[in-house]
């Protein structure tokens, strides 16, 4: 099957920036099957919106926007799956901890905590972790940089509270 140049360029760009998609999936969905669905949906939306990409801007910046918008507007399938019922946290955590070192353990805990935030808060955290400046975060979200900074500061406190609660509950 032949791939046209536009498609080849798109696939190359996606491949080299796939980490962005993987992390957004991990932030927004806690279930492997939903993560896979979201990844598929984001790839589709990126392809559909590819004509709107102007090469003067960075592909990754454009990708953040399309992928985050897709993740926020994504609606889980309603079908019931055996893994729909969340596993008791101990099992879930034990599985994750078996393959990780201390740093990864903290990251796994961080993802768990982030899953308790709303969709906009997740977007904010994601962009912050990607080292985006408050001006860039504000542009992606469509708010002011001051609001982004204030909200981020509150979010850090909220995450601290959530992780404290998680430690207390599951120790």
């Amino acid at each position: 099957m032949t791939v046209n140049p536009k498609e080849a360029e798109f696939l190359r760009q996606i491949e080299s920036n796939k980490g962005i998609l993987f992390k957004i999936c991990r932030i927004y969905q806690d279930n492997a099957e939903d993560r896979d669905d979201l990844l598929q949906e984001m790839t589709l939306q990126l392809w559909l919106a590819y004509d709107s990409f102007r090469s003067e801007s960075k592909f990754s910046s454009w990708m953040y926007r399309v992928a985050l918008n897709t993740a926020i507007a994504f609606f889980k399938k309603q079908k019931r799956r055996p893994d729909d019922q969340s596993l008791p946290y101990e099992f879930d955590r034990a599985e994750e901890l078996s393959r990780v070192n201390e740093e990864e353990e903290k990251l796994a805990m961080f993802y768990k905590a982030v899953h308790q935030l709303d969709k906009i808060e997740k977007a904010l955290i994601y962009l912050y972790m990607e080292n985006q400046s408050y001006e860039e975060i504000a542009t992606h979200l469509g708010i002011t940089a001051v609001n982004a900074r204030v909200k981020m500061s509150r979010l850090k406190d909220k995450l601290k509270e959530i992780t404290k609660k998680m430690n207390y509950e599951y120790r």
């Binding site: 992390k23 897709t70 906009i120 708010i143």
Partner: protein
């Protein structure tokens, strides 16, 4: 937990077992409500064209009552105009729906607005078209019965509709309106209701932020 200390681990994280789907065939299995709406609109348009071909074939086959044939034809043209108007509007939405390259606040507002407006137009379209379709079906069936036979059943001696027939037509229209209203609301609520509520919640969260 200090999330600034996690940035190194975050940068190193390759998200383990995830694999990218670059097979375009798989992209058709979309789960997005906007894409589903687009798919449904396309399917409904194709179904409508097939229905029109079938209806016209039945209409011109074995006509026994020219009067009802003419009435059916006029009603079908009315339906055609209604369908053309609504499907033209759907087509405009179809082309512009779901732009994900805007800022989050603009993109989510646009998706929410389009989805809500589209579902409302869809309800209005069905509410205006279905009862007319029911009446067209009745006249279509009547055109297959000899006029003299029909005359005895539905008309009084002075050529007006009998009371029973008037009542029958009235009840049919009311019932078809009620059924259409209930079915449309149920369909829209089950298909897009939860999704719309979810988007509105996101809009509220964004409103608090800005």
């Amino acid at each position: 937990m200090n999330i600034d200390e996690l940035k190194d681990a975050w940068n190193k994280d390759d998200s383990g077992d995830m694999r990218l789907h670059l097979d375009k065939a798989k992209w058709n299995k979309t789960t997005s409500a906007v894409q589903r709406l687009r798919k449904n609109m396309k399917m409904e348009f194709i179904s409508l064209l097939v229905c029109y071909v079938l209806i016209f074939a039945v209409l011109f086959w074995n006509v026994r009552s020219p009067l009802f044939f003419n009435i059916t034809l006029v009603m079908l043209f009315c339906l055609l105009v209604i369908n053309a108007f609504y499907f033209f509007r759907f087509y405009i939405f179809y082309r512009s729906m779901g732009r994900y390259d805007l800022s989050i606040i603009n993109s989510i507002s646009k998706i929410t607005y389009e989805l809500e407006l589209n579902t409302e137009i869809y309800k209005t379209f069905n509410f205006s078209a279905i009862p007319l379709s029911v009446l067209t079906s009745i006249t279509l069936i009547a055109s297959k019965v000899r006029f003299d036979d029909l005359n005895n059943i539905i008309l009084t001696h002075n050529g007006m509709l009998s009371f029973n027939m008037m009542l029958y037509v009235f009840v049919t229209i009311v019932v078809s309106f009620v059924i259409t209203y209930i079915c449309m609301n149920f369909y829209v609520r089950t298909s897009y209701g939860k999704y719309l509520a979810d988007l509105k919640q996101v809009m509220n969260d964004l409103g608090e932020l800005s």
